[in-house]
Structures are given as structure tokens and as C-alpha cells.
Amino acid sequence: MRPFLAMLRDSFRESIDRRALFVLLAVSCLATLFCFSIAFEKEAPELVLRRQARRLDTIRHGNSLVHFDGSMPLEFDVVRVAPVSADAPAPPGHAAAELLVELEFAHEHELNAMVHSWAAFLEGYPDDLSRYDAPVGEAARRGYLRERFEGFGYADVGVVEGVLRAKAAEDARAYRVFVAGAESYRVAGAHRLSIGFGTLAVGLEGTSVQEVVFTIQKVLAEAIAGFVGLLIVLSTSASFIPAMLQKGALDLMLARPVSRTRLLLYKYAGSVSFVAVLAVLLFSGCSLGLAVSTGFFNPWFLACALTLVAVFAILYAVAVPLGVLTRSGNMATLGALGVWGLESTVSQLRASDDVLPAWLRAGLEGLHTLLPKLSDLTGLNERFLARTPLADEAAARVIAEPADLDWLFILSTTGAFTLLMLGGAVWLFRRRDW
């Protein structure tokens, strides 16, 4: 244990000596500071509700809102948004209602188009066009409205039909919708987002505080830590083992009463531990920042640190045998980055819908079996973050449907790859004269 602790301390010292470490710490601190600097300012509920009601004929497509029919806005009016009052009381069973919105659809088919398009959106736009002409019952229309408002984040939605204007067309439809009872952070667009301690303020459109937090966490886990951080830490630490193996340095280590196997694995474990500390620092700092600034805490965000450490441990296991074989930090770094890039390419090609020649697809499958499943492991981040209690509608928009993966295959082949790499490194290290 003492030799391991000594190597661990040494790995920390070695990492601290590298300037890249300060870049990593700076990235961690900036990310944490960014999370602390976020603030959500509540907007007037009437304003939010009016804005939301106006978006009834739109669906979020990527980062923008698109109209249901793909081009033209549907014809409907938001007649009134006001607190519940004596002249418009909440329906029975909706005593908690606070606001009422009155909607008027010029023609019944406008509302029907919304109902169809919404169903198609939820079902992934099926090709069967005839279904868009199917008749829509009143219950379906009301169900649609309820669902949309619930999707905006309101917990208690009541819908009352009623003709609001005397001179409306025969097939016009008008509704009063009573909404209430949601936690403020779940109400989409109920806030203005400010970043940098108020330096920059952005009005939220069609997104809730929780969705914003989810997106920030996803970017932090996948882009900041999972890509930029991993790239820096891999480039820095891949040279640790070649440095240990330099002539004159290794003699001082090998003369100690520690077997070569343990020496190499301790060095490996030291670097992985260091990255684990950095990951915990980054994720807990950001998690705390987001909790303080948004009041929202998703403990599963912390689990993303595990993914980062696991991916690093696998890629670092590639750098170790290359480092032992060549004693070159550059070769070790390139090897690890090469495996990362190759796996990512194979994974993307496999997932693409492009028609690939049979031989290429067979080759991809072969490579996929041999390589560590880094993309699948990284995909765990989304699964962790998906445990956030988002509204169903928001979840459908921002959380990708998890692929049905064979985790036994993924973990066993990835584990075998890592063990093979480390075993090869140990074998090389043990048999060579130094």
C-alpha cells in the first residue's frame, strides 16, 4: 500500500507540474463559476401564459419552433389572459387554478390540424398521410389542449369549452383553459435567464428552467468534460509512463522492492485517480453551482464523473503499452487519440442510415466488436441526466430515446479490450531489459 500511495502522490505532483493541469483547473473553475453565475428571474405569470398560448401551433424542432403545417401559422387568437375571477371561475375540481386563458379558433379544422400534428410529432411523424384527415372528436381536442398546457409545465390544467364571441363562424371553437399549480422552474418560459452574474440576460422561449439546467449539464458532461477535458488530460498524462521509462529514471524505480507489474499498474492507477479527483471537482463544483443558482439539483449529474473517468481509464490503457513499447509520449498520445477517433467514427457510421457496402458494414461490425464501446459509455451521461423530472413533453423534445443496447456485450468487450491493453503493457514491461 505504501508504494502505491507514494506513486499516487507522485502522479499528483507530476500532473501539477504540467501546465495543462492549470488549463484543466481553469476550465473546471470557469465551468463552476458559470454555473454559480446563472440566475433565473421570474416573469409575470400572465405574460408567460400568453406567450405559451401563442405557441400552441408550433413544435420545437431542434432549437427553433416550427409551425405544425410546416409553413403557415394556424388561425387562432389568444383572447384574454387573466387571473381567475368571479366572471370566469375555475371548473369543479380545479380549485387551485390561478390563471385563465381564453382561446378562439376561427375554424374547427385549425384545431383539428393541431391535434393531428401533435399526435404525429409524438409518434415520430408516421408516413401514413390519411390519418391527418381522420375526424377529431371534442374529447381529443380538449385532451390536446390539456396535454399542451401540461407540457408547458402546469400541473393542474382544466379545459372548458364555450363560445366566447357572438359573431363567430359556425365552426369556430373557443375554450377557456385554467392553469395552475406547477413548481415555477417547470413552467416553460416563465423566467429570464441571466448569465455572468447578470451580465447577459436571455428570455426563455418554450423551455423551462429545468430544461435549461438539463442542457447545461449535458453540455458540461459531454462537450466540456467529455471532449475538451478528456482531450487535455489525455494529451498530458499519456507521457507520464514514457517519462518514467526514460533511461536513468527507471533504474531508480526498478531498484526498489516493487515488482514491475505493480510499478506499472500503480502508475496507471495514479493517473486515473488524478483524473477522478479532477472529475469529482468539476462535476461537484458545477452541481453545487447549479443547485445554488437554480435551486435545482440532479444527483445523477454527479454520476457523469464516473463516465468520464471510465472513458479516460480505457483510453489511457491504450497509451500505456504504446508508452512502454516506444518510450515516446507523443506516440502514446497519438495512439490513445487514434483509438478514440476510430471508435467514434465506427460508431457514427454504424448508426448512420447511409447504405454501406456489405464488406464495409462487416468490417465496421468487426471493428465495433474489437474496440472499446466509448460512444455507448458516453451515452450513459444522457441516461443519467434523463433521470431529471422533466415534463413528459419536454422530455420527449430534449431526451433522445435510449437505444436498446446489449450492456453485457458492451461491458465485456470493453473490459476485455482494456485488460488486453494493460496485460500487453505489463508483459512488455516485465520481459524487457531496461
Binding site: 505504501r2 500511495l5 502522490r9 507540474d17 526514460q246 529514471a249 531498484a255 526498489r256 520481459r431
Partner: protein, 306 residues
């Protein structure tokens, strides 16, 4: 039980025509508490022998043991300290930090390592630079630190490869004193050095390697003693006219200034020569075995291997 024991050690580097036989059947024993000096030209196999003893290089044949344990076992290195010739410290560490690392790898707790590090840095004259990064150390300072790291876990067998390389004369004297002190405490020291004078001053026994073979081995006294030659001073001094008669009694008789050099195959011949001189009125004032310098012994050994 010998502190170091080597039997029939062979090691070849490379293959085919470019192969180099670094060790060619080395047998060696070093007793506990002895300072053993290993001499040899560059490439003679000195460092390879030490590396095989420490399992840094694996032998093709033969065996090596330290304090009775096969050198292939990691535990055999527990009581061993090693200062390699071209050592390179992790430059990101301070002197204190490096000793902490090597102490830990030798099984010391962090507290013990720090305590020993403090003592040793004081002992090798680096106390003032203990918290300075090694990249700022001079060559001599690194050499002193090298000695400290070899001693950090209080070893009973010490392998030193050119320990005074790059150290100034005062430092060399200090290191010599330190080694003698260690020997007095029972530490066995195996010393590789090109500095023959240094080896002559502190080593009890010396081995000379040439092309992977041990061509001479023995105590300093026996190696430097010339082949049965003596320097004789008499009163009155011997006259050159007597030399032909003396040469009839001994194998060699030469006059150097006032001193007569005699070489005889056995003591009886020497006694006969002394009796001859006494009979002619010469009184014996001094008789001393004639000695070679270690350098002479070394040069003879490598030029005319046994």
C-alpha cells in the same frame, strides 16, 4: 552467508553478428560489511552486472543472490540501495519530494520517509535545497541527492555506480567518509568507479572486469603487491659492482639511487641475497615489499587478461 553472490552469470545483448557478450561467466562473492570495488573499461560489463543483481536486466544464464535471496525476487531488493550512473530524477519534484517517493517505494511510511529525507539531505549537504525543484539542482547536487535516495531506507547492501561523478574534491572526501562510516555500521558496498585512486582508498577488495570476464580479483593489498619484489636499503649502500653476484642468487637485482630492488622466486633466495650482503658488511636498514599502484594493476589486467 555472502551479501552478494554471483555464479556463472552470462548476458548477451543483441543477436547475430552485432551481439555483445556483456557478461561471460562471472563468479563473485562479497562478504557482509565489505566495500567491493568493480573496475573495468567502458563497456566491460560493470553496469550490466549491477543491473542483473537488481533484476533491471535479466541474465541468460547463471544466478545472482543478495543476502541469500535470488535477485529475481522483488523482496531481494528490500535491503538494497542503488545509485545508478546516469540517474535522472523527476524534475518536477523537490529533493525532499523525491526522497519521499523513493522512500515510499521502498516501503517507508510518509512520516518515516520525511524523517529520513530530512536527515539524509542534511548529511549530504542539501538541507538548504531540500524544498527546491530538482530541475534547479547542479550536477553535483543531483549526485548528492542520488546518494541520499540510495540510503533513504537504511539499506544493508549498497550499489554505487560512479558515486562521486560530478562532485567537487571536498564533496568527494565527504562521500568517502560517509561510505567508510556506512561500512563501519556493517553496510556492504559494491562500488563501480573509474576513479582508481578513490577505489584504492576505500575498497577492501577489487574485481577487474574485461570484456565481461573477471580478469583479476582480490584484496587491494594482494593485488598491488608486486610479484615477490622488495626494496632494500642498507648501510653502506650497495655498490653496483655487486649486482652480477646478486643476480646469480635472485631473479632480479636493480639499483635505484640508494635503494636496491630485489625479486626472488622464494624466501630462501631472498635470504641468500641478504646473507650475501651481510657477509660483505652491509647492515639492513629497511626491507619493504615493492607495490604497484592500482592503476598499474588495472592497466596490466586489461592489457594482459588472465
Amino acid at each position: 552467508m555472502p551479501a552478494i553472490e554471483v555464479q556463472g552469470l552470462r548476458k548477451r545483448f543483441g543477436r547475430g553478428g552485432r551481439a555483445v557478450q556483456a557478461l561471460d561467466g562471472i563468479d563473485l562473492e562479497v562478504a557482509p560489511g565489505e566495500i567491493y570495488g568493480l573496475l573495468g573499461r567502458n563497456g566491460a560489463g560493470k553496469t550490466t552486472l549491477v543491473k542483473v543483481l537488481l533484476d533491471i536486466v535479466r541474465a541468460d544464464a547463471g544466478s545472482a543472490a543478495i543476502l541469500g535471496r535470488s535477485s529475481k525476487s522483488a523482496r531481494a531488493r528490500s535491503p538494497v540501495g542503488y545509485l545508478p550512473e546516469d540517474h535522472r530524477f523527476p524534475e518536477y519534484r523537490t529533493g525532499l519530494g523525491a526522497l519521499d517517493l523513493y522512500g515510499g517505494l521502498s516501503g517507508l511510511s510518509a512520516r518515516e520517509s520525511r524523517r529520513r529525507a530530512g536527515e539524509l539531505l542534511e548529511q549530504v549537504g542539501l538541507a538548504g535545497a531540500a524544498r527546491k525543484k530538482i530541475r534547479g539542482y547542479s550536477k553535483g547536487m543531483k549526485q548528492r541527492l542520488g546518494l541520499a535516495q540510495a540510503l533513504v531506507h537504511d539499506p544493508s547492501v549498497l550499489f554505487l555506480d560512479e558515486p562521486t561523478d560530478g562532485v567537487d574534491p571536498v564533496g568527494r572526501a565527504e562521500i568517502r567518509a560517509l561510505l567508510e562510516d556506512l561500512r563501519d555500521k556493517g553496510c556492504t558496498i559494491f562500488l563501480n568507479s573509474h576513479l582508481l585512486g578513490e577505489v584504492e582508498q576505500i575498497c577492501d577488495r577489487v574485481g577487474i572486469l574485461e570484456a565481461g570476464r573477471m580478469v583479476r580479483e582480490g584484496g587491494i593489498d594482494s593485488l598491488t603487491r608486486a610479484d615477490r619484489a622488495w626494496d632494500l636499503r642498507t648501510e653502506p649502500a650497495v655498490d653496483a659492482a655487486l649486482l652480477p653476484q646478486l643476480r646469480a642468487l635472485v631473479t632480479r637485482a636493480e639499483l635505484h639511487d640508494q635503494t636496491l630492488e630485489l625479486a626472488a622466486e622464494d624466501d630462501a633466495d631472498l635470504d641468500a641475497a641478504l646473507d650475501f650482503l651481510r657477509a660483505r658488511g652491509h647492515r639492513l636498514r629497511g626491507l619493504q615489499s615493492r607495490r604497484l599502484t592500482l592503476e598499474q594493476v588495472f592497466l596490466r589486467a586489461v592489457e594482459e587478461p588472465a
